[in-house]
Every structure is written in structure tokens, then in C-alpha cells.
């Protein structure tokens, strides 16, 4: 079976006042109807990889790839209009800063309703019911109240879940979720993950799950890609994290504070310049 997404030799760089920043340096992977995790160092290019796939790279950046293909569509050659239509319908991304990706002057509920109504012929009151049901599905208490709140009036975790609800009403075939649960307490986090899990298992959605939470990724995803300084340094079956070979990945496992361990200060990585070559 052909993969849903093929990324081959993706590069993204930014000209800045102090020189060129190479954010993504030759990233290649494929995605099927599965859960693919991306972990990696802060600043290693995870979000920029996701944005490039979505066609959301800032205009002044330089982007190149040998292949960037979604279900037979060449994303590098696609027109802006084509990409916009893909984004609205078949592929979606939950951005890392959900509260600032939502429209600040429109209530959360209205934003979900409008998304829903661009996808389906549905009456206003049915759309409202569906939106509230979706907010409840992502474990928002008191969904009726939250429906009428504006983004600045909800908590960090509520904003993340509102964004997830909005992406889910659109029913995408591929979802890129950039740190979608980083602001959620662990019990809610697991509930939201099972919502995403169902979409993969039942609707065959392809999911790219970007996270810095190694424990979570290894228990939730099928495969994990590890990024460092703009490159993929390792790919692992999720259950196989303990056998990681790259010293960055090995180091990561060691420097997490865990309940019951008492290590002050925490061990830190001794980053070698050759890791970033």
C-alpha cells in the first residue's frame, strides 16, 4: 500500500540578521494510517517540519524537498489555493500555540460551528449540539459555558482541547498534532489521546504526534522519530525506546525526573558537537 505521506530530504531555512538558520536539514520519513511520534530537542525543527507539510512555512523562508507527497498530490508543486483546500478538508494541524491560533474575537463555540458548517450542510442548532458534544468528547466540563467563551477566557488546557475539537469536526485524513496535550493534566491527557487513537483505529486517519514527552509517545505511538539539530538521528519502534542507540535519546531517558527518584541536580546531557553535523 502506498503511504499517505512521503517526505524525502526536506530542508527549511530562514535568513536572519545574524545569518542563515537551518531549521530542518534533510528530513525523510513516510506515514501510513498509523501513529507516528516525533520527539526531539527544543529547537530541533519538529514544528517547522509539520508546518512545511501543511504549507504553513513563513513566506521569507527557503524550503526544498526531493519529495513532499500527500496521497498522490505533489505538495511542493501545489498552488496556494490547492493547499488551502487540502488544509480545510483533508489535512489538519493542531498548532503548538492553540490559544493564539484561534480567532481572538470569536467565541470558541462559534469557531467550531463555522468549521463544521463549511464541511457539512447542517442546521445552526444541530451544529451547536454537535460542537458541544465535541467539546464534551475532549473532556471539557461545562461545555455549554465554554461554548460562549472567547479564547482569552479559557485555561491553557481548555484552549488546547478547543483546538483539537475544531480539527476533529473537520474529520481530516491526516492530522499533525504539535504538542497537543502539553497543557493537560494526566487524566484528561489520556482521555484526549483515546479520542485521537479511535480516529486512527476506526477511521484510518494518519497521525503525526509531535511531543517532547517520551513516556507518553512511547506508550501511545507505533513508531518514533527522534530529531536533533534539524535532522532525524534515530527511528525506533515505540516499545523499543529502551534500546535507543543515539546518545541524545539515551540521555533523554536518563534526565527525566520521575516520581520517587531523588536526584539533585538532575543529570544533564553532554552535547557533542558531532551530533549536530
Amino acid at each position: 500500500m502506498n503511504p499517505l505521506l512521503t517526505v524525502d530530504d526536506l530542508h527549511v531555512s530562514f535568513p536572519t540578521r545574524t545569518g542563515k538558520v537551518d531549521a530542518v536539514r534533510g528530513v525523510s520519513f513516510t506515514l501510513g494510517r498509523e501513529r507516528l511520534g516525533i520527539v526531539g530537542e527544543s529547537g530541533s525543527g519538529k514544528s517547522q517540519t509539520g508546518r512545511a507539510i501543511m504549507g504553513l512555512t513563513p513566506p521569507h523562508a527557503q524550503i526544498s524537498a526531493k519529495t513532499l507527497n500527500f496521497d498522490g498530490i505533489d505538495l511542493m508543486a501545489a498552488s496556494a489555493k490547492q493547499k488551502r483546500s487540502l488544509r480545510g478538508n483533508r489535512i489538519a494541524m493542531i498548532l503548538q500555540d492553540p490559544k493564539y491560533s484561534l480567532n481572538p474575537v470569536m467565541s470558541i463555540g462559534r469557531q467550531i460551528v463555522e468549521t463544521l458548517r463549511t464541511h457539512e450542510k447542517i442546521s445552526k442548532s444541530d451544529a451547536r449540539d454537535r460542537a458541544i458534544a465535541m467539546l464534551e468528547a475532549v473532556q471539557i466540563r461545562d461545555a455549554g459555558r465554554v461554548f460562549d467563551l472567547h479564547p482569552h477566557e479559557v485555561s491553557g488546557g481548555m484552549g488546547q482541547r478547543a483546538m483539537i475539537a475544531m480539527m476533529l469536526v473537520a474529520g481530516p485524513e491526516m492530522l499533525i498534532a504539535d504538542e497537543p496535550t502539553s497543557a493537560l493534566d494526566v487524566t484528561v491527557q489520556l482521555e484526549v489521546l483515546s479520542v485521537l487513537d479511535k480516529l486512527v483505529a476506526e477511521r484510518g486517519m494518519g497521525l503525526i504526534f509531535i511531543s517532547h514527552d517520551l513516556r507518553l509517545v512511547s506508550s501511545f505511538c507505533d513508531r518514533v522519530i527522534v530529531m536533533y539539530a534539524g535532522k532525524i538521528v534515530e527511528e525506533l519502534a515505540a516499545g523499543d525506546l529502551a534500546n535507543a542507540k543515539h546518545p541524545y535519546t539515551q540521555g533523554l531517558l536518563n534526565c527525566m525526573p520521575t516520581i520517587g527518584s531523588d536526584r539533585h541536580p538532575l543529570p544533564v546531557l553532554d552535547r557533542k558537537p558531532e551530533w549536530a553535523l
Binding site: T18, S42, E153, V186, V268
Partner: protein, 254 residues
């Protein structure tokens, strides 16, 4: 020992929604105090209320023996008490350079020696001098979070309110930031209140913590109690179980 921060029967309402319902905590000088709890339970609201950024309708906040006025605080307060916000996107102006962002609090509080302080602050959070003249919107999520921490530390406050300060960081950078925070707290005798949903982080950083749910504190316990499972609330127990990771429920065939 005197408490550095004492929150007594605090109530915060938005229209008729009770965001904080009779909340009390007391934090000793030099202590690091943890807040955990459900999303939407009022953790950020509590920190914002202490910082003078939430509509308090009842109760009081005492810092260093002084009862704070509900809304307006004096300039010394804004230097003494610094907050690192949950979303670094919102708290850092995207069109300002990092240099400007770090310069600004120093200028407001008339702190001398800006040049050296800025260089040191960037270095402390693991960002080299090449980041100094970038704009906030040119940084990754975790890089912004570290700038927000640098900005709070640069004016040498005595109280630091930390709202999920490492939630956007990978474990390697998180370890460095947590070590930095611990060292600074020890060296400068800072008092912390720290929100985190990661129980590993909270028990590592804090001696005592409060568990919040629905605008209330439902349980107060010490970190060793939590670690040893001496827990009385079912909700806290659930948090402990959920911390172990995702468990896929086997699909029921049929």
C-alpha cells in the same frame, strides 16, 4: 517560621462563574510549593490573583507580612514578584527582539549593568548570544519558554510564580532549566509557587503541594506523601495512575 506568601479564603469570579472558591495556601520563605490539578481547576487563576491580575472578590493575600491591595500593587511589588506565564506566546511581544524583551524590565526597575545581565540570562537558559537579536516569533516554542524564564529572573525577584515552566521543553533542556531554578532558589533564597501537570517534576522541585479541582483545593500533602501513596483523595489517586502513561484499551470485538 513565618510564611512568605499566605493566601486566605480567596474567591475569584468571572461573571457568575466561581474560578476560585475559598482557596487558602501558605508558603514558607525559601520554599518551593507545588500546584497540581485538573485542567480548568483554577491553578493559573491563583497565580494571576497573587500577581494582581485576577478579579479577587473576597479573601486576602499576604506577602512578607503585608496584606496586598486587591488590584493595584506598587512598583516594588512588580520587581519582587515575577511570574512566568503558561503560554510564552502570549506573554512575549512577537515583534520585539529578545534584547528589547530583556532590556525592558531592567529599564523599568532601574537595574544597572544591563549588558552583562542580558548575556548571562541568555546563557543561563541555554540560549547563545546568537538569539539576542532575533524576534520572539522567530523562536521555537521551547526557546520562547526559556526567554520567558530569563525575563523573570533577570530583575532578581524574591518570589517566582511559575506556570508550567517546562511544559514545552524536551527532557534534556527541562533538566537544565530545573537545575537552574533549584540553584537560583538556593543561592538567592527565592520562594517559588510552581504549577505543573507532571508529578515527576512537582515531586522533584517541591516539598509540599496542593491538589486543585473545580476551583477548590481538595488535598494538601508533602511530596514524600505523594511518592509513598499516602493520598486521601480519589482524584489525586487517579493522577498517580494516569502518570504511568497511555494504556490502550483492547478493542472489544463483535
Amino acid at each position: 517560621m513565618t510564611s512568605a506568601i499566605s493566601v486566605e479564603n480567596l474567591v475569584v469570579t468571572y461573571d457568575d462563574f466561581l474560578a476560585l472558591n475559598d482557596v487558602s495556601i501558605s508558603v514558607e520563605a525559601g520554599e518551593s510549593y507545588g500546584l497540581v490539578g485538573e485542567s480548568g481547576s483554577g491553578k493559573s487563576t491563583l497565580l494571576r490573583a497573587i500577581a494582581g491580575l485576577a478579579p479577587v472578590s473576597d479573601g486576602q493575600i499576604v506577602i512578607g507580612g503585608k496584606t496586598l491591595p486587591r488590584r493595584k500593587r506598587d512598583k516594588a511589588f512588580y520587581r519582587q514578584v515575577q511570574m512566568v506565564f503558561q503560554d510564552p506566546y502570549g506573554s512575549l511581544h512577537p515583534r520585539q527582539t529578545i534584547d528589547r524583551l530583556l532590556q525592558e524590565p531592567l529599564a523599568i526597575h532601574g537595574v544597572p549593568d544591563a549588558e552583562n545581565r542580558i548575556v548571562r540570562a541568555l546563557d543561563e537558559v541555554g540560549l547563545g548570544p546568537s538569539f539576542r537579536f532575533r524576534y520572539a516569533h522567530q523562536l521555537s516554542g521551547g526557546q520562547r519558554q526559556r526567554i520567558a524564564i530569563a525575563r523573570a529572573l533577570i530583575v532578581e525577584p524574591s518570589v517566582l510564580l511559575l506556570d508550567e515552566p517546562t511544559s514545552a521543553l524536551d527532557a534534556s533542556v527541562q533538566a537544565e532549566v530545573l537545575n537552574l531554578l533549584e540553584q537560583i532558589r538556593r543561592d538567592r533564597k527565592l520562594t517559588f509557587i510552581m504549577v505543573s501537570h507532571d508529578l515527576g517534576v512537582v515531586t522533584h522541585m517541591c516539598q509540599r503541594l496542593a491538589v486543585m479541582k473545580n476551583g477548590r483545593v481538595v488535598e494538601r500533602l508533602t511530596a514524600p506523601d505523594l511518592v509513598a501513596g499516602r493520598i486521601s483523595e480519589a482524584y489525586t489517586q487517579n493522577l498517580m495512575v494516569a502518570s504511568k502513561g497511555f494504556v490502550r484499551k483492547e478493542a472489544v470485538s463483535g
